[in-house]
Amino acid sequence: MSKRDLVVNDFCITFSTVNGSGSATANTTLMRALFKMGIPVSSKNIFPSNIQGLPTWYTLRLSKDGYMGRVEQDDIIVAMNPATLHKEVQYLAPGGVLLLPDDLNFVNTRDDLIIYRMPVKKLIKDAEVPPSLRDYISNMVYVGVLCFLLGIDLDLIHQALDFQFKGRQKPIDQNFHMVEAAYVWSKQNLEKKDPYLVEKMDGTDDCIMTDGNTAGALGSIFGGVQFTGWYPITPATSLAESLIEYLPKYRVDPETGKDTYAIVQSEDELAAIGMAIGAGWGGLRSMTSTSGPGLSLMSEYIGLAYYAEVPVVIWDVQRVGPSTGMPTRTAQGDLTQANFISHGDKNMIILIPGSIQECFEFGWRAFDIAERLQTPVIVLSDLDFGMNMWTSKKFEYPDQPMDRGKILWEDDMEEFMAKHGGEWGRYRDVDGDGIPWRTLPGNRHPKSGYFARGTSHNEDTGYTEDPEKWETIFKRIANKFETGKQYLPKAIADESQKATLGIIASGSADPAVQEARDLLAKQGIKTDYLRIRSLPFDTEVEDFLKKHEQLVVLDINRDGQLNQLLTMTYPVYSEKTTSLAHLDGLPLNAKWVEKQILSLLEVK
């Protein structure tokens, strides 16, 4: 094979297994080794909503250019699950590689494939692994074979295993020996016929490898989270579980040995949000994490927090709805619900991280915003970010001190009252920005107490049905969101190509869009790009809309929800805008985006 036919650091491997078979260790070990080689690598885990025995696909994408989006075609497939083999073969690229156990019954219907058979049973037998661990460790066979085929240094595998098992020698050895044996066997028995190779590079300098739920949890910890009420739900569970894991490490007060936080697993989502709102009202940096069905259950309570002006952060790690839908598939389908959640008029602040790094950043920033504006902040992540492993830029230390917003303790009270004619009222707009000053329970100042409520109230929290008083509060709150826009992460525009075509997207649609733009650029098609990071939209969004002759809005949902909200807010640009919405449970891929845009341009 000539050098120029080789494919180096730019291909895709899918591991097809059944869930519960323990392949995760093998797959992440490989991923870690590749990461260590400096190759940008990302994974997509397509798993069923059950615990054991159903088909699972784990895809590793190596991309020297740093692309992280899902790809439709696989270059290499490691087929461990006979039940789905026929399907996998369809997804193999022309000339692709199929690795399969030698006892797997397979009738090849394609003549372009390169097939390697692995003597899994024999190798594991020779390795004398305890019977209870056999199934688990047999996955290491394909690790060894791939190391040979792709050229991965076994040392790196050892390092990865060492990390995985936190230095415990026994499992490291057991697994590593299996890898070695498979490697040796491959070397002796396989002839490499395929073009896929890996090489060291410097694509992961300053990078880490992690998932969005871990990032969100750590971001929250650096945001000073003090209270979490949560209820398990896929794919949000690991966010709260990461809090449970990391908080004891980083948030025990060294002086007192006491926790500076509390986590409560509640009985359901109504209670989770109720607790979080109670704590937010009490002055704690408070959050909950959930997914679609949980968000729906939180509707009533979120309205209370909005109207009683209680800061609280709600992570919605989206999965495919409506209803229970596909709990283990990704979507951006909760956007319009989040925007219009709860009865009556309201304003919602929505943050949409567009990378793992931003999951961390919005983790802390959400608290600043919630406390500054005294209102719920919904962070819309999704399963693709939340549960998949990504190569990401390192987490960055918050570049701003914590903004606790307008809080009055005992002494502040005195000062405040001295300045304001001896008076304070919980919902008075003394600063003209729509944001009142709040006190917290436990404040011993005899004038600090107030009566929070979801019922109509005047500026001093008294119940009222007076139309004018109602309107005063209600309009002030609306105003708060106007002046509050300055605190939100701005949409990011890349207008470097000075294009007439502008693409708009958000969240986990980003990687596919980035890649699609490059694909288009190669064909001479210029695009500008605006990545929305928060709602309500601000001027930079309108600027972008105004500037471009043609606009495309990408959505990972059926109804084009981001486009719906943009249209509602900026209808005048809708005529030049096309909604590209797609939902099938899988992360967006660049090829699809490219194709859609190309066909759009053709039509024009």
Partner: protein, 349 residues
Amino acid sequence: MATPVPNPAIQNVNKVGLSKADYKGLPSTLCQGCGHNGIAAQIVAACYEMNLVPEKVVKFSGIGCSSKSPTYFLGRSFSFNGLHGRMPSLALGGMFADHTLKAIGVSGDGDTASIGLGQFKHMVRRNLPMVYIVENNGVYGLTKGQFSATAERGLQLKKQGTNPYLPVDIAMEALISNATFIARSFAGDPRQVKELLKAAIAHNGIAVLDIISPCVTFHNHENSFHSYSFGKEHEEPLHEISYVPPKEDITVEDFEEGTTREVVMHDGSQVVLKKLEKEYDPRDRWQALHMLEEAHSHDWLVTGLIYVDPEVPSLFDIYNIPATPLNRTPNSKLRPSHEALDEINRLMF
């Protein structure tokens, strides 16, 4: 900052220097004669007599006539009038902000036993330190007279017909959810209400008070369990209680029929029980169950301190939180260091 200091010059002040007026709230907007009004008055009295500082109390409620009550007492305290049936979660979160406060929650039977049964039971199970009062009238007052889950079977209401279901027994529910303090009283018996309130306030853990509180407007048939007329007749006081504040530490060891018995509260204060006819030990869960079951089969309204266990760790004892309220934690202790983030970045692989 102005912490109230006892002023001996002022008459009728308690040990923290406050007069009863300092414990009052706004005038009631409930119906004249509503049982809930009397309970609010006793909360005022109990807090005054217990020398609570209003700023150290926080009030919670759901939605209903009953849940409006916090407006009518302790006007200086923080308060959160939340959602229908979902006050327990709100209170739990709120109390984590400052667990040194005394929480007083007021709910109704609809709020607690209909829509709120799940949250109520889970709150009890967690032993959230809180005085949780159910102003129980067997009816939805605020929505004008529908059956609540504590309405007795056979009750007839104007627009609703006849109730075919057995009532939820709030004390029994609390008991099997392992509540650490359970009492029942009757709004028409202000003295007992007050004494039970004082005992509940002194308790460190969930203190459930099921107070039969007649709705004069929508539920005052002669034959009704929750109406005054019925209440006064069928009420069967279990024992009398008088609260002894910590400073006057009286202990009675001897305990036989007709005498008194102390239960030592977590904060060192005691509840003195005066037994009536029956031998009754409120520390005996089994006996409590027995008594409630018997009352159940006899359709009795038994009042008094039904169960108390001052030893069970409260929710906040279980958590490793600092003595200072969490909401006073300085920012510096909330954001880990640069080094911590470096370590984390190294670990992310």
